[in-house]
């Protein structure tokens, strides 16, 4: 009998091509996603006069710089150049591109799962820190820098040191109106913005098993904000049901064979973790951030804390210690991103907004073009439009502002994205992170609000 292993150990072991004496392992990469921001890596490939080792395992997605309005025209020449550069590299190296005009275009961490490219047991990398998202399938997924992107492009492998293993067990069910986003913010506030540093986190427990695939993606997406190298959830029937029929997923006998193998992707009884954290799901309320790090998160019913270490952050945010979170006025809302731009998220926001008007302007950008279509097919867009919000095309948009969708300096945004860093949504912009339903409540109220005070209206 071999020693009991964690899910992470199994994924790691199955991708080690070679090991060095110093402990670094050369890992095989099954899926490599690139985007417009990968231009430094392509430059490194060109500098070596090299080609791609595995164009068939490389997938390009136009998301960071694409406009969300007025497509396909791109007004800014610099931004247009970024999108064109990616198409040029796709053409030169012969990899599949989900480009600006592709019906399946979207945000990389939404497109990979949606297309069935992300599968349990695979290794997935991308030059984007939120690649941890894909671990929701029980895949070994992590973000890498440009030098590493170049290495993967040229060799389809990557030298890595094995991270430590951490288990976060979430006991009991989540309460009403408490979503994966609230859970994620609660976890980050509990362990700290670098609390999971150097660790691969596996989520376990009743609350996790009950999450939909989309919610699992939200949770794993945010794990990088706790400093985790990657995040994992063991695949189960929820995972397999999601994958069935996806364009690039195995089908028929292949799928059955795959599922049999995927069922072995679970942590063995008795396997040990380097660190364990226990979370009581019942203790989690709808949560918002108040500062400039995702760890600055509290239940919406709380007040801005009084701590000397927060003085700078609160000055940037224009908040005072002791101020109630409910009632902090917002200037606009943003609903979208790879964290919360999936159909489930749009439905949750629409459920709150249906029949109501937003008191402030806002932008809703679906996580992919296919999600946009699906949302329109069920009429969600009319809910947003009737509420007075803008219904846009898919891209990273206000999550990072690279495409020009920015918050003006000093303005405050209720946002479903993942980072409330200074200037993340634009120079001087103030960001409060929250779930889509909470962002919808803030839109209606014109200030941070408790979604539990906005029950769905009768239709």
């Amino acid at each position: 009998m071999s020693a009991p292993r964690t899910l992470f150990d199994k994924l790691w072991d199955s991708h080690v091509v070679a090991e060095r004496e110093d402990g670094e392992a050369l890992l095989w990469i099954d899926r490599h996603f690139v985007h417009e921001g990968s231009h430094h890596a392509f430059r490194a490939v060109a500098a070596r006069n090299a080609g791609l080792a595995e164009p068939g395992l490389t997938f390009g997605v136009a998301d960071h710089y694409v406009p969300t309005r007025g497509r396909p025209a791109i007004a800014d020449a610099g931004i247009a150049g970024m999108v064109t550069q990616l198409s040029d590299n796709a053409a030169r190296h012969g990899f599949r591109l989900f480009g600006l005009d592709d019906p399946a275009q979207g945000i990389v961490h939404v497109v990979g799962p949606e297309q069935g490219l992300t599968l349990p047991g695979l290794s997935v990398v991308c030059g984007d820190s939120h690649t941890s998202t894909h671990g929701a399938f029980g895949a070994l997924a992590f973000g890498i820098g440009a030098s590493e992107v170049a290495h993967v492009l040229m060799t389809q492998t990557l030298w890595q040191k094995k991270p430590k293993r951490m288990r976060i067990a979430v006991h009991g069910p989540l309460g009403p109106h408490v979503t994966a986003k609230d859970l994620a913010l609660h976890v980050i506030a509990t362990v700290g913005a670098n609390g999971a540093h150097g660790h691969a986190v596996e989520y376990q427990g009743e609350a996790i098993r009950a999450l939909s695939m989309e919610s699992r993606l939200t949770l794993c997406n945010m794990s990088i904000e706790a400093g985790a190298r990657s995040a994992l959830i063991a695949p189960d029937d929820t995972t397999f049901a999601y994958l069935a029929g996806r364009p690039h997923a195995p089908s028929g006998a292949d799928l059955n064979r795959a599922i049999a193998l995927w069922r072995t992707l679970a942590t063995d009884e008795g396997a040990s973790f380097d660190r364990e954290v226990e979370i009581d799901a019942a203790a989690i309320a709808p949560t918002v951030t108040f500062g400039t790090s995702p760890e600055d998160a509290l239940p919406i019913t709380a007040r801005v804390p009084d701590a000397p270490a927060l003085a700078d952050a609160l000055a940037y945010m224009g908040l005072a210690p002791g101020q109630r979170l409910v009632g902090i006025p917002v200037d606009r809302v943003f609903i979208g991103s790879c964290t919360n731009g999936r159909l489930e998220d749009l439905r949750a926001a629409a459920a709150v907004l249906r029949g109501r008007r937003a008191a402030v302007p806002g932008l809703v950008s679906p996580g992919s073009t296919l999600i946009k279509q699906a949302a329109e097919a069920e009429g969600l867009h009319t809910v947003f439009l009737d509420a007075g919000l803008e219904w846009a095309d898919s891209g990273c948009s206000m999550c990072v502002g690279m495409n020009g969708d920015l918050i003006a300096s000093g303005q405050r945004c209720a946002s479903t994205t993942n980072r409330n860093f200074r200037g993340r949504q634009g120079q001087g912009a103030r960001t409060h992170l929250m779930s889509p339903a909470m962002a919808a409540a803030a839109a209606i109220a014109g200030h941070l609000a408790d979604v539990r005070d906005y029950p769905p209206l009768e239709r």
């Binding site: 050369l26 430094h40 820098g145 440009a146 913005a193 690039h248 980072r419 120079q427």
Partner: protein, 206 residues
């Protein structure tokens, strides 16, 4: 890549926790090509006000610390976005070493791949160094990667770095050349993988 062995250079204290890569280089500057140089946009929004004028009280804008080649920062430096441009910005500005109690994982990896040393010290030692840089007669630090020590005003402080990263910096190794030596192992791994999990080889869209 560039090697790192020892460095004797002026340092600046950056007494902020969680200086994420969005702050090190704001997203709007990431369209630049490397040839343009990323130094002018390092820590842009902390260095310059919204009109583009230098903020006189920001440490790198003070006469005492302009031209620093070492930063002594707070916890979780370089967290957030994986953008390697954060390292380009530090490097192009002239920074060769960042000393901090902890680093974002991807940042630390990116740093080493570009020859920049991420040196980990305790919270207390970071605070001591920052205080010293604010008050001492000079701002010169000696950083020795062989012995993993920092010397400031005659006082020696140990730092830590992952041993593999240390060796990489000392040798200036290029990963790709090391990997190419493993071509045979990679090829046989690929064959076995295609056999065991054919779907891993990316079936085309159905």
């Amino acid at each position: 890549m560039d090697r790192f062995t020892t460095l004797s250079a002026p340092a600046a204290p950056l007494a902020l926790d969680n200086v994420d890569t969005d702050q090190i280089i704001p997203a709007r500057f990431m369209k630049r090509s490397r040839a343009e140089g990323y130094g002018p946009v390092l820590l842009h929004d902390l260095r310059f006000d919204e009109a583009g004028a230098p903020r006189p009280d920001f440490v790198l804008n003070t006469a005492r610390h302009a031209g620093a080649k070492v930063l002594v920062a707070g916890r979780n430096f370089g967290s957030g976005s994986s953008r390697e441009a954060a390292v380009y910005a530090l490097w192009d500005y002239g920074i060769r070493c960042v000393i901090a109690p902890s680093f974002g994982d991807i940042f630390a990896s990116n740093a080493v791949k570009n020859g920049l040393l991420p040196a980990r010290v305790s919270e207390e030692d970071a605070a001591t160094l920052q205080a010293w840089l604010n008050s001492a007669n000079d701002t010169q630090l000696q950083v020795d990667l062989e012995s993993c020590t920092i010397t400031a005003g005659g006082q020696t402080i140990p730092f830590s770095i992952d041993p593999v990263r240390r060796t990489q910096l000392l040798n200036g190794w290029d990963d790709i050349d090391l990997t190419r030596e493993r071509a045979a192992a990679i090829a046989s791994f690929r064959t076995a993988r295609a056999q065991a999990e054919p779907w891993a080889m990316a079936p085309p869209a159905a």
